[in-house]
């Protein structure tokens, strides 16, 4: 007897049951997220920062990386000064004569790119490793998790510091260092939630439905591990940005002619006592706003995505 034929004449129940009102998950997520004014504000601010950062080449008054337009003649001008070309530096200029506003915009772009790039790569690496560990189990898992433990037992700053000392400077290098310093967090997070998910009955159902391992891992388990990953991802991205700043401060990290926010601050740091506050305060504020807004968004995501806190 074919299952399909019987459908229409099913004797079971004339009227199918009603269900609770349908609500799209995305909408629910957004409304939950918007619950906190602060977080909403932070999200909007973050969006604005991202847009501004990525449009930097379009909106910045100066290309601070073009040495032909930057001159030490303009170095250390206080905010609001007009330079010889008649252009007003609203936030002043830094020690090399870069327009600070432009430098901050470009710096934001670099900082955010570094944070995002390292975050995304580390996320993918960690995710793959963590998922495999959780799903395969046994010795493979043991081995992978030992490596993760080793990595985690070493603070990210140290790892990045040593690595950068070895690799040298450059955006690619710092991304590599940050990835190495961070992937393990993702691996651990994914594994933890994948272990929980793997024991869920829907995975057993998928197994008994004869679906392939790859399909089960990526179509079934992975989407359910994303929530904590996203939370860890936001926090780690903020962390990466701060870490990059710290590394720049310690003298390893990025090349100085294309300063990230961290490097701008570090460079401005030496002007602090001399009263040329703007060189480091403005980039500092930009960095602070970025990190704080990312963290606030992450915080709220954590609350919204955490099933235990729901309802």
């Amino acid at each position: 007897m074919a299952v399909t034929d019987a459908g229409k004449t099913s004797p079971i129940e004339a009227a199918p049951l009603p269900a609770p009102p349908a609500e799209a998950p995305l909408k629910r997520f957004l409304s939950d997220f918007a619950d906190s004014r602060l977080a909403l504000g932070a999200a909007l601010l973050l969006a604005a920062i991202m847009i501004v950062a990525f449009l930097a080449p379009v909106i910045a008054p100066q290309d601070p990386y073009d040495l032909a337009t930057v001159s030490v003649l303009d170095a250390r001008l206080p905010p609001g000064t007009e330079n010889f070309a008649g252009y007003t530096h609203w936030l002043g200029t830094d020690g090399a004569g870069r327009d600070l506003l432009s430098a901050i915009l470009y710096g934001l772009r670099i900082s955010i790119s570094v944070g995002l790039a390292s975050g995304v790569i580390a996320l993918f690496v960690g995710m793959a490793v963590g998922l495999v560990a959780a799903y395969v189990g046994g010795r493979t898992e043991g081995l992978i998790m030992r490596v993760v433990d080793l990595q985690l037992s070493f603070p990210a700053v140290l790892v990045a510091l040593i690595l950068l000392a070895i690799l040298g400077k450059g955006i690619d290098k710092i991304v590599i260092a940050l990835v190495v310093a961070q992937w393990a967090y993702y691996a651990r997070t994914v594994r933890a939630s994948a272990l929980v998910e793997r024991r869920r009955e829907y995975v057993e159902a998928a197994q008994s439905l004869g679906l392939s391992h790859a399909r089960i891992i990526f179509r079934h388990i992975l989407p359910n591990c994303l929530a904590p990953l996203i939370v860890v991802g936001t926090v780690q991205t903020a962390h990466a940005i701060a870490l990059e700043a710290t590394l720049s401060f310690l003298g390893v990290g990025l090349p100085q002619t294309e300063p990230s926010l961290g490097l701008l601050i570090a460079n401005g740091f030496e002007y602090m006592i001399s009263g040329k506050y703007w060189i480091s305060v403005f980039p500092g504020l930009a960095l602070l706003l970025t990190i704080v807004s990312i963290n606030m968004v992450g915080d709220q995501l954590r609350d919204v995505l955490n099933p235990r806190l729901q309802k």
């Binding site: 009227a15 049951l17 009603p18 609770p20 619950d35």
Partner: protein, 336 residues
């Protein structure tokens, strides 16, 4: 029967003021329990049984609140009492046992700590005396080698043992009433039987009043003296256990009993109540069961009162299955 009931709950309303709206978890519950009596409180998930229990102990948390009604324990009104006074009553006059034995004991404190503090919270008892009383309580619930057990941590106990410890803690100050919230649901049948055995013995020995919350009609059938059936925050039927189970008045009770598989009707289709429990946020006007009730008519648009049927029974229905009309529809089924 004694003159005053140990507990008299009248028209209790406990609402939760959530973002999505006001959840009327308990919306006019009236109950009474006498000395030495076990009242079974049954109902489906979400019908407000637990919240009723918490209301009696004054343990309703934000965003919930007792909105109105009265809870009298030995004649003493509890609603509106300041927290400090309630604290003195909790554990002293009323005690509570929870569903999940794995979660009710603090995992990081030794059993003796948890027992002794319960005694010393209510009186100036020496550590030694308190320990001795704890020991006795453990013996009473049938825990072997209590001295050793006192020194243990909860994780060293099995589920059934833990639930016994919880019961022992509830008994420590010899309360007048124990509210037991599904204490055996998480346990295996053989272990459940052990607990039921101890409880039965205790009630008989001490004259303790008890509210036994469960969704398992079979368990209360064997244990309770009287039964109250809850639906959507209200008691819809109440009475002695035999009468309620054998001759239910309310269509809901009847449906519930009909859906329990039993060997009398092996292999036969079970009776099923159509539809599902309404959301407490959007309760319909009038009788909340009307939408699922085969007997519902226009009269049900108005909330029926909890009406007495005979000396000890009550039901909240416009069309109860009373002796007069019962003959028409005796087979306990609904839609077939």
């Amino acid at each position: 029967m004694n003159d005053a009931p140990t507990l008299q709950v009248t028209d209790l309303k406990t609402h939760f003021f959530t973002k999505a709206g006001v959840a009327k978890a308990v919306d006019g519950v009236t109950l009474s329990v006498n000395r030495g009596e076990v009242l079974g409180l049954v109902g489906e998930s979400g019908s407000g049984k637990t919240v009723t229990g918490f209301s009696i102990l004054g343990l309703v948390d934000q965003p919930g609140r007792i909105v109105s009604g009265s809870i009298r324990l030995n004649g003493e009104e509890l609603v509106g009492k300041p927290e400090a006074d309630l604290r003195k009553i909790r554990g002293r006059k009323v005690a509570m046992i929870f569903q999940d034995p794995m979660m009710t004991l603090n995992p990081v404190l030794r059993v003796d700590t948890q027992m002794i503090e319960a005694i010393r919270a209510h009186g100036d008892v020496s550590e030694e005396a308190a320990r001795e009383r704890s020991r006795e309580a453990l013996v009473r619930v049938g825990i072997p080698s209590p001295d050793e057990r006192l020194q243990s941590y909860p994780h060293q106990f099995s589920g059934g043992m833990r639930q016994r410890v919880a019961i022992a803690i509830a008994l420590l100050n010899e309360p007048d009433l124990i509210v037991a919230d599904e204490p055996t649901t998480a346990l295996d049948v053989t272990i459940q039987a052990q607990i039921l055995y101890e409880v039965q013995k205790l009630c008989a020995e001490t004259g303790l009043a008890m509210i036994w919350i469960t969704h398992d009609l079979a368990v209360v059938g064997g244990l309770a003296d009287r039964l109250a059936v809850m639906y959507a925050g209200r008691v819809v039927e109440e009475g002695p256990v035999d009468q309620v189970l054998d001759a239910p008045l309310h269509p809901y009770t009847r449906g519930l009993i009909g859906s329990v598989p039993s060997h009398n009707r092996r292999g036969a289709r079970l009776s099923q109540i159509p539809g599902m429990t309404p959301s407490l946020l959007h309760l319909p006007e009038g009788c909340s069961f009307a939408a699922r009730c085969p007997r519902a008519d226009d009269a049900c648009r108005v909330m029926p009162p909890l009406e007495g049927f005979g000396p000890s029974r009550a039901a909240r229905c416009h069309h109860p299955f009373t002796a007069e009309n019962d003959g028409q529809e005796i087979d306990l089924t609904f839609n077939e």
